[in-house]
Amino acid sequence: MIRELVIVSGKGGTGKTSITGAFASLGKNTLLCDADVDAADLHLLMAPEVQCRSAFMGGSLAEIRRDDCSQCGRCRELCRFDAISEDYIIDSLSCEGCGVCVDLCPEGAIDFPIQQCGEWFISDTRFGPMVHARLGIAQENSGKLVSLIRQESMTLAEQKGCDLILTDGPPGIGCPVIASIGGATALVIVVEPTVSGLHDMQRVAELAAHFKVPGLVCINKFDLNEEMTRQIEEYAVKRNMQLLGRIPFDPLFIKAMIAGKNILEHAPESQAAKAVIDIWKKLVSSPSMNAMGIKDLSQVIQ
């Protein structure tokens, strides 16, 4: 049974990718998936060799054929996104791709070409296969791309006989996050002990509770504010989330990043590396990560 662990945080910059990268060293028979398609960074630690590259086709955008346009104004009246200028040029950044103008233009003068919104890749890394993507700049449909690469990760894991997918998730609680957590075996929530870290984690936990997913919490840079660390742990326990452990603040994470390595490769003897190993041990023995992949409803976020 293939299990999928999704690493999220709510707030950005709490250490999701650095910790996912370190987990990659510890997992056996693991596939990596970078679901932060909007600002993907995991490849900077993994040096993936791309084996297969595919276009990601997103939605369509409207384009007016000037020669056929009678400037009747119907499209401008219909468009709810203010995407059509007075001289009948469509702003591709504002166009929502609803196609209402396309269908209802009396002259049939509007085309609706499908857009390439990004690319996705299957790669090899020193830790096993990796599925990742790059959403085009200023594009929509990030949720659709996340769903696609999670699906492709599952297919590839089946082919390669991997039994664990490690998915580095996006920050926030919007469409790419919703697309990242549905159907996950469990979430690891990486929190920093700050007022914003706690606030944002509460929102992502609330979201995850809708999906009935188990949540496991680890606190990064815990020693920056131990009182806040305790508050976060209390909150986690209250919502039925398992505590995995605490990682100290350590500039070695940045040094490792600069070296293109994870913390276990770069500084295996450091306190931070030891903390990550302890967290991993707790993680793999957690009831929610049982080898049968059976969803333990007693473990889900309440």
Binding site: G10, K11, G12, G13, T14, T17, D38, A39, D41, L44, G59, S60, L78, R80, F81, L93, E96, G97, C98, G99, V100, D103, L104, L135, I137, A138, Q139, E140, S142, G143, P170, P171, G172, I173, G174, C175, V177, I178, E192, P193, T194, V195, S196, G197, H199, D200, R203, E206, L207, H210, L224, N225, M228, P251, I254, M257, I258, G260
Partner: protein, 291 residues
């Protein structure tokens, strides 16, 4: 720049999360004091209120159009489902099913319904909070947990821009549609990054996004002594001016963790944030003159 007023709209963005957007936005707002509006457009995870401690005077629910079907009038003609590109409507037998969370509010279904069976309904997007933090006018969007689409709420928050006040926008991380919604139409994009490989990689993406919009921009390097020189080298090659550097200071990090801003903890920083703002005015002004 708003014609003749000299009041700017500055959007603070980064690509990578957790680099210090909210820190720069709140500290700049507090340093400028009077005639400043701060808009927290990171509606998925709004944080500015945790540092400004505003008095909230109004919480306005924000919603978006979804279709509502009058089954008495519906003939099951399927035209609504045919025009919907987002599969938010389906007709099963004679009955129209609506999937509200998939609706993008284009109103195409209502337009093509010949039986008058569709009327405007609402999907809750979240709330718009309004208030004051001392002299700073404060507005913040808070996306409903479970809502996938943030841009309509971001656009709603941005209706609070006011020509007679300097507007500082705290943008969400990333480079896709929510960030574009928080940057479009701004006079200047101030990017905040950290000098690390992740910071650099995501800064490049953010710079590309700003180029698409054609807005002048500049850079703040946060925790500027914790990393390497690659961000500075990149900024120089792009002609992106480094407008401020904030070195790592454990005291700043600890204050942040408790919701205390830099200027509260170290008042001497207020002058630096005011200089940052004046430099932005010069850079944006120069760009405008050049055009």
């Amino acid at each position: 720049m708003k014609q003749g007023t000299g009041k700017m709209i500055i959007s603070i963005a980064s690509g990578k999360g957790g680099t210090g957007k909210t820190t720069v936005a709140t500290n700049m707002a507090l340093s400028l004091g009077a005639d400043v509006t701060l808009l927290d457009c990171d509606v998925e995870e709004p944080n500015a209120h945790l540092f400004l401690h505003p008095t909230i005077t109004a919480q306005t629910p924000v919603s978006t159009f979804i279709p509502e079907i009058d089954e008495e009038l519906c003939t099951g003609c399927k035209k609504c489902a045919e025009i919907c590109r987002f599969s938010a409507l389906a007709v099963v037998g004679q009955k129209v099913l609506i999937f509200p969370e998939l609706c993008h509010s284009c109103e195409g279904c209502m337009e093509v319904c010949e039986d008058g069976a569709i009327s405007p309904g609402q999907r809750d997007l979240g709330v718009l909070e309004s208030g004051n933090a001392g002299p700073v006018n404060f507005f913040s969007g808070r996306l409903r947990v479970g809502e996938a689409m943030s841009p309509p709420l971001i656009r709603k928050v941005r209706t609070k821009e006011n020509e007679s006040r300097t507007t500082i926008i705290d943008a969400p991380p990333g480079t896709s549609c929510p960030v574009i919604a928080a940057m479009k139409g701004a006079d200047f994009v101030l990017m905040v990054t950290e000098p690390t490989p992740f910071g650099l990689h995501d800064l490049r993406l953010a710079v590309e996004a700003v180029k698409v919009l054609g807005i002048p921009s500049g850079l703040v390097i946060n925790r500027s002594d914790m990393g390497d020189d690659s961000v500075r080298t990149y900024a120089a090659s792009e002609g992106l001016e480094v407008l401020m550097e904030i070195p790592f200071d454990r005291k700043i990090a600890e204050a942040y963790s408790q919701g205390i801003t830099i200027v509260e903890k170290f008042p001497e920083w207020a002058e630096k944030f005011r200089s940052l703002y004046h430099r932005i005015e010069e850079v944006a002004g120069a760009k405008e003159t050049a055009e």
